[in-house]
Amino acid sequence: MSELPLLDVRNLQVEFKLKNGTVRAVDNVSFQVNRGEFLSIVGESGCGKSVTALSIMKLLPKRVAEIKADYVKFDGQDITNLSENEMRKIRGRRMSMIFQEPMTSLNPVLTIGDQLTEPLITHLEMSEEEANNRAIELLNMVGIPEPEKRLTQYPHQFSGGMRQRVMIAIGLACEPDLIIADEPTTALDVTIQAQILELLKDICNRLGVAIIMITHNLGVVAAYADKVNVMYAARIVEKGGASDIFGKPSHPYTIGLLRSVPRMDKKRGGRLATIEGLPPNLMAPPSGCRFKPRCPMAADTCDSSPELKERAKGKNHFTACFYSDDANKKGASIYVSDKDKFKPIKVKKDKPVLSVRGLKQHFGVSFRSGWLSSVSGTVKAVDDISFDVYPGETVGLVGESGCGKTSVGRAILHLNLPTGGELKFNEKELNQKSVALVRQDMQVIFQDPFSSLNPRMTIGQILEEPLKVHKIETDEVARAERVSELLTKVGLYPYMRDRYPHELSGGQRQRVGIARALCMEPKIIICDEPVSALDVSVQAQIINLLEDLQRELGIAYLFIAHDLAVVKHISHKVIVMYLGKVMEIGDSDTIYGEPKHPYTKALLDAAPIPDPKKERGREKIILKGELPSPLNPPKGCVFSSRCNFVTEDCRKVSPELVDFDNNHLAACINIEGGK
């Protein structure tokens, strides 16, 4: 294109002057975005993606952030030296931004209408009435029903997905040329993510708006991006067209990232390739190539900094690596794959370690409806669920948030007393009394390793405590030894025993969480979203760790997660839940390969595959709407209000689970071939 790029960034550099040093969060970054183009910026957290975006918008706190650049040209105009007021006129008018946290990005004390009309009144000088009419149009455009009424409401009356729609409406209000979206769907369910991204792409295509999408989800990149910037430790290490980045990755980091995401479109098997270690501390980055400490191809040459060079003239594919040709040729094989050594574990199915029959967890809730009356109802968080977990087996539990996954885990552990059904642990009945006897055998790992570790205890104390309390190891020396052993087992170092949780990274804290669960030598661990808060490379490390431990110790896992690819990778068996009920249950490969239930199909369609060719080629059904209120679930089949295959009969009966083949069950009356 000979046309001038819309955004042209040359040698952008951002430094934060902090009390204890200077952090260069963005280091000589250059890139361009053309009109109507979709650029993705990917990389692990802390590598400078958001700072890049915020510095273009000039939204960084001036007290600490220092931005330098040869130039940042927006539509031909260099905006580096614009005054605050001139910049303000561009923000929200010609470029806008959508943020990650829909729950906190809107002002809680102002109405949606007020917040949506603000840019219209400020920039386009509309009257209140004009702005209101335009706001209604905008809400319509982003798919919010009853916009007139919605305008007078406050953010807390909107769901997360709805708030993100409002944010998009605000961003697009003045029809900008560029929209920067910083992890806009990370906090949302896959189904809602798909809705939001489709919406964003559609509108931007229609209006010719360029998008910069920051994300760590490579599937999202594969699905939408024209161009990709891969960032590592404040620098761009590779950039180019999406097909080149996914098809011919030439930087070891890119290759590693692509290889460490579990894939939904491949058969289960083997370990994930992982990039060992962590990204460097930007206060004291390694000299030379910053990826060197983690790079499997590192050589002496790498002590000097590789430049970002075009791989072939005119191809617009750039890499910053001395051995990019080599890396490109060898591809994934540069990461030692012990794939063959570790075939998936075969599970012997004679005696289940945990057996769940007809489990029910109903909550009585009451809330005020008028100003003196109150309404009470029942939330059937878990409603008649049955499954078995065998020793050494991983059972995955998936579904949108609020569907009852966590409640299943809590009911099994008796953290909430189940309101119905039968639980057996090693063939002995579990009830309020007997659960105390098997507490040690059933452990939990939580999503947020930080909030589940006592911040005032050292790692050593945290791990010793259960050993002491349960009198497993009474001797002090033996206990210390056991702690060292545990730390080593989960891939930490014994010297870390003296550290406090805040002195560890998220991945390391999750390892401590695992070590704590392990110290009781449990038979089963209930893992509630254990890797959701982690970056892909760390996520892969933790998944591998869990699998290794299973292989070694024969532990069973109940693995709760909303990331379908992760669940597929780790689980032998998968249960798909919706509004407290099982929709489908079966072998991992079967569920993902031949899904029967409309809900399972919709979930799989919603999760993007990190391969542009496959992702863009496949037909998708995007699930409409959101999870209905559990207080008032649809009659008959609970999925009927969102199902694309719904018929009259669906609203009459609640479908039973029907066996299709070899323990593959689905609850839907409109599938052929059930027995």
């Binding site: 906190t104 002002n107 809680p108």
Partner: protein, 318 residues
Amino acid sequence: MLAYTIRRILLVIPTLLAVAVLVFFVLRVVPGDIVEIKLAAEGGIISAEEIQKEKERLGLDDPIMVQFYKYMIGLPRGDLGISLWTENNVSEEIMSRIGLSFELAILSTILAVLIAFPLGTISALYRGSILDYVIRIITIGGIAVPSFWFGMLLIMLILATFGNLPPLGTISIFDDPKTNLYQMIWPALSVGYRYSSVVARMLRSSILEVLSEDYIRTARAKGVFERIVIVKHGMRNALLPTVTVIGLEFAFLLGGLVVTESVFNLNGIGKLFVDSVVRNDLNLLQGLVLTVATGFVLVNLIIDLLYAALDPRIRYQK
């Protein structure tokens, strides 16, 4: 909002009832006997008979439930009984003093708000500047220095400048507002310094906290004018915790200020409190506690209503 307001106001009645019952019984658990103290003060040898007669006369002899009954049916009429010491009507005694404490509370609140809002806001917006440091030193002082001591400094200052002290707290604001205000402004200042420091510091920290919220970034990303970002998006949220502090300080002042009152020689509720405790004057004490508690409950009601007006999440609460 209307529904919330009505619900919230209705809640005041049972709260006050509970307070009334609690006050009555808790005070009667405390040992001590006013009759003995009173007669002892008159000197001479006291016979058991005399004590008994006096008790009968004051109704202290009745079974506790009878006393309770009399107390409870008096309440709706505002009848708090008579002081066991002076035998004056308790309500009248309190009313004659509360006006002064109330005026002092209002005056110092006005002063505090007038001083604290600019100080707190400037201090937050220019964080780290010299101005911020100066303001923070001033407000630290306000918290560290006891009000009465600051009051004594003030008195010395007035003496040094005017050569004499204005007569304090004797003229009602309704008779001669000018003189009254001239008298009251000094104790109000002495209390208001501490008060404004507390509020200014609260305001500073809540503005700083609010300005780092995601929605402030959103507002800036929309290209809204910076002053609108601060006033419309920031201030309203920052006011929430500040309102609480103001309300609590105000209610605290209603309860009287023993030392400050005596420094400025004011006839406020603080002195009455001390007297009633020293003399074990149960009726007066329970009247006082009840009055102050009612003040607290009402101030809390106002805080809650202000909160609801500022924050829709509360208004729409189920």
